[in-house]
Amino acid sequence: MGRWLSLLTAAVSSVAVVAFSQHLHGEFWRVLMALGLFGAVGLSLGSLADRLLLWLTQLGGGGR
């Protein structure tokens, strides 16, 4: 996943999770949707973490 796409997914999904999570009690589809969006945040943040570490190692002089 591209860096900007990951960032965008994480940002949009985070906002959507907070919006969806209001008054979830007993709402099957909204709970499912919020969980899906939460998963999308997790995956996109993971992808960003990979890039962050590679970038840091390049900064730290680990490159050839």
């Binding site: 919020a34 969980l35 997790g42 993971g46 962050l52 590679l54 190692t57 050839r64």
Partner: protein
């Protein structure tokens, strides 16, 4: 929540690194921590489950890239885990009616964690003296068909029943002790099924993902989840889990088991403090958090050294990132 933003992020990050490295969910640390921060117990459990779901998705994806995930083993264990957990829930219900559940559960936790820590540390010392543990993989070698092969876990002719039995046992123990059961399942997979350490860690995360996903759904459906809090922890947790999972690529299996032994020992001491009423709620939690912080430092050091070395050799993007090396 706003006054604890940084603390929640840090908690998520530390537990994420430890969880991604060992294949655990980390509920033994996060639920009591949230409770101490003022969240009522059902909300603390539900919020923790949701954060575990999000970060284990991140760690599982990384372990899949690294080739540390065995779907066949994960499926067989899951089949055994469900009835095991159900059986434990029934037993806990009976113990609760008898009014002895707290003491019984703590004694089980203390015995199991002490035994596991002892086995892991003893195996490490034996390996240092050049001795092999004779019973390693004993359940996988049961002489009962049907059998199956799994190249990922280097298994040949392993008995399906051994895996179902282990799923049942670890599911039962996890159901009694609470949480996803990674503390029990990972060492059990390594020693009783003979699965390579890194594959055990990656495969266990699938179990964690399934149980936390189901738990988060059911708690959220009942209104017991604080989504913004879980999101803050996820920002730390997904990052930490990914880094922890990546570190398994560079850490030698022996070192990984050594850290596991240390964490299990810290957990056993923490439960002992709780059981004997020493230090209230805070001291046992502080013991677990300190051990996790220490291990996080080591894990990040291992990762940094590994990536810098691999980059120097021009191998990082081709191998570690896409998981083209065994372990």
């Amino acid at each position: 929540m706003t006054e604890h933003l940084l603390l929640l992020w840090l908690l998520g990050f530390v537990v994420g690194v430890v969880g991604g490295f060992f294949g655990f969910g980390g509920s033994a640390i996060v639920t009591p921590a949230l409770n101490i921060l003022g969240y009522p117990m059902p909300i603390a459990i539900g919020t923790d489950l949701l954060h575990i779901f999000g970060k284990s998705l991140s760690a599982t994806a990384k372990h899949r890239q690294l080739g540390h995930l065995d779907w066949r083993v994960a499926g067989l264990l899951a089949l055994g885990t469900i009835p095991g957990m159900e059986g434990a829930a029934q037993l806990v219900r009976h113990l609760a009616q008898a009014g002895t559940v707290e003491t019984a559960v703590r004694w089980v936790q203390l015995s199991v964690l002490t035994a596991l820590a002892g086995v892991v540390l003893w195996e490490m010392l034996s390996a240092r003296n050049g001795k092999q543990v004779a019973w390693r993989g004993i359940l996988g070698r049961l002489p009962i068909p049907p059998r199956f092969d799994s190249p990922v876990s280097h298994l040949k002719g392993a008995s399906v029943w051994g895996f179902l039995l282990l799923g049942l046992l670890t599911g039962f123990m996890a159901g009694i002790m609470g949480g996803g059961g990674g503390f029990i399942r990972v060492p059990a997979m390594i020693y009783l099924l003979g699965i390579p350490t890194k594959v055990a860690v990656g495969t266990d995360l699938v179990e964690v993902l399934l149980s936390a996903g189901y738990g988060a759904f059911t708690y959220a459906h009942k209104g017991f989840v604080d989504f913004p809090t879980a999101l803050v922890m996820l920002f730390g947790g997904a990052l930490g889990a990914r880094l922890g999972a990546w570190a398994t690529f560079y850490a030698p299996s022996k070192q990984l088991r050594g850290f596991l032994g240390l964490l299990l020992t810290a957990s056993a001491i923490s439960v002992a403090f709780k059981q004997f009423g020493v230090g209230g709620k805070a001291v046992p939690l502080a013991i677990l958090l300190s051990a996790s912080l220490g291990i996080t430092g080591f894990v990040l050091g291992v990762l940094w050294q590994g990536v810098v070395k691999a980059k120097g050799e021009g191998a990082v993007t081709a191998s570690a990132w896409h998981g083209q090396k065994g372990g």
